[in-house]
């Protein structure tokens, strides 16, 4: 883990030479396989949606906003996505997978409860370093569609596994406690993002970790982990 938090750049996720992935593909015959071209175009539209979302919010964002930002035609958009919602869902999936992978990589090899501190810290740093991603993850799923909300719940359940390891200490805890706690944590994060304090998210690391650990360890022990 480097000191500088990584930047999320969907356009850089393609399996293409960097100079092509970051820019537009050269026009005409470029000898690249069709699948590369399609993936590059999809990722360009995803990157464009990610940039325009904080500006307009999901309901006001139009396909015109996305295609203009991507420098592509409407026809090209509709060749790849059936609707604004399907483009949003894919953007959300790409972004949330990147974030969850980042958190899981950071906690790998860490013991409970240290892994909770490390995971929360890494998650907050990645969000703070990538405000459009933070906005997409925390604010827009509730605005987009029930399907988007569903995927948000699935991601919370995925990250809940990290917390669930602490259960061995307290078997009597309610069954869905982890999803409940992470739903609360996401709500606190969303509140910060709504009030334009995305870049200061790492400041709440200690309070958040303490809150997450209290049901397992009690307040005094949770505080010691954070200190």
């Amino acid at each position: 883990m480097s000191d500088e938090p990584r930047r999320f750049d969907p356009a850089g996720l393609g399996e293409l030479p960097v100079e092509l992935a970051l820019g537009q593909l050269p026009a005409g015959k470029h000898g690249l396989p069709r699948s590369f071209v399609v993936r590059n175009q999809r990722l360009r539209l995803i990157a464009a949606l990610l940039r325009v979302l904080p500006r307009h919010g999901y309901p006001e964002t139009t396909i015109g906003h996305i295609t203009q930002e991507a420098g592509m035609s409407r026809a090209a958009f509709y060749a790849l996505f059936s609707s604004k919602e399907s483009c949003f869902l894919e953007t959300y999936d790409v972004a949330s997978r990147w974030l969850c992978n980042g958190v899981e990589d950071a906690v790998a090899g860490e013991r409970w409860p240290q892994c909770v501190r490390v995971g929360v810290g890494e998650g907050l740093r990645l969000l703070a370093a990538n405000p459009p991603l933070a906005h997409l993850i925390a604010i827009e799923p509730a605005r987009a569609s029930p399907a988007a909300r569903q995927r948000q719940q699935e991601n919370l359940a995925r990250l809940a596994e990290i917390l669930r390891a602490g259960r061995s200490n307290r078997p009597e805890l309610p069954a869905e406690l982890e999803e409940f706690l992470l739903g609360g944590a996401l709500s606190v994060v969303a509140s910060r993002i709504e009030s334009d304090r995305t870049e200061q998210l790492p400041e709440i690391e200690a309070a958040l970790v303490e809150c997450l650990l209290i049901p397992y360890l009690g307040r005094a022990k949770s505080r010691k982990i954070v200190a």
């Binding site: 919010g57 999901y58 309901p59 609707s83 604004k84 919602e85 604010i139 509730a142 605005r143 987009a144 569609s145 029930p146 909300r149 569903q150 719940q153 307290r170 805890l173 309610p174 069954a175 869905e176 406690l177 999803e179 409940f180 706690l181 992470l182 739903g183 609360g184 944590a185 996401l186 709500s187 606190v188 509140s191 709504e194 009030s195 309070a207 958040l208 303490e210 809150c211 997450l212 209290i214 049901p215 397992y216 360890l217 009690g218 307040r219 005094a220 022990k221």
Partner: protein, 239 residues
């Protein structure tokens, strides 16, 4: 919904991405002519109908796709009446949301009144709140689902409601330091509670929200119950 549902008396079918094909189109209620009501009563009644109509429209269309025409059709008021009081959809949502929150808070306070002891008060307030929401699924949907989908001023208002809920969840500060649940913890619990309720409503289980009482109470009490209770435990934790 099958095509035969689209009859006179039902509102327009949704075109938006949030349409809920699993839901019945809300039916427009025929209202008897008003009789013997004062002007103030007529207006209060009109607002209540506008708020209820808005909530019904939101369930089917979602915030983004709800039009003022859907609201007034379901409320049975004229466009002129709507615009006399509300400049636009956003302002009407704000008023409807505020009205709903106040009614929910009143129900919770009513339920917790005369109950002594913090866990029992929390349990009674929670039961009353869930009961209130279960009795009016469209309102529950508006307060816990659509408030997050609305324009930014409404979302900020929702944030303030969660802060308020957090204060209601705080146990009385009987012990000075490690015995109390902090404000941050309470805010997180409030967010978790709202998020869980929201999930149940989205799953179409608004009417059965009261079934969530025991599990929710367990979550809400988990931090307080995890606090070491005895002096020895507290001493051990402090080491």
């Amino acid at each position: 919904m099958p095509a035969e549902q689209e009859t006179n008396g039902s509102i327009r079918r949704s075109r938006g991405s949030r349409r809920r094909p699993d839901l019945q189109l809300p039916q427009v209620e025929k209202r008897p002519p008003r009789s013997g009501l004062s002007r103030a009563e007529v207006i209060a009644n009109q607002w209540a109908r506008v708020f209820a109509g808005f909530a019904a429209a939101l369930v089917y269309h979602g915030y983004e796709d709800t039009k003022v025409s859907d609201i007034i059709e379901l409320a049975g008021v004229s466009r002129a009446t709507f615009y006399e009081r509300f400049e636009n959809k956003e302002i009407c949502f704000h008023a409807a949301y505020e009205d709903g929150v106040e009614r929910l808070v009143r129900a919770v306070e009513e339920g917790a009144r005369n109950v002594s002891g913090w866990p029992d008060r929390l349990s009674a307030g929670l039961a009353a709140g869930l009961g209130f929401l279960a009795s009016d699924p469209p309102l529950a949907h508006m307060l816990f689902v659509e408030a997050l989908a609305a324009a930014r001023p409404a979302r900020l208002e929702h944030e303030r409601s969660l802060d308020r809920l957090a204060r209601m969840l705080l146990p009385p500060q009987v012990e000075s330091d490690d015995g109390a649940v902090s404000e941050e913890t309470a805010r997180m619990l409030a967010g978790g509670l709202a998020s869980h309720v929201s999930g149940r409503i989205l799953a179409g289980e608004a009417k059965r929200l009261t079934e969530q009482h025991d599990a929710l109470l367990q979550y809400l009490l988990a931090p307080a119950l995890a606090v070491p209770r005895t002096t020895d435990e507290r001493r051990a934790a402090a080491l």
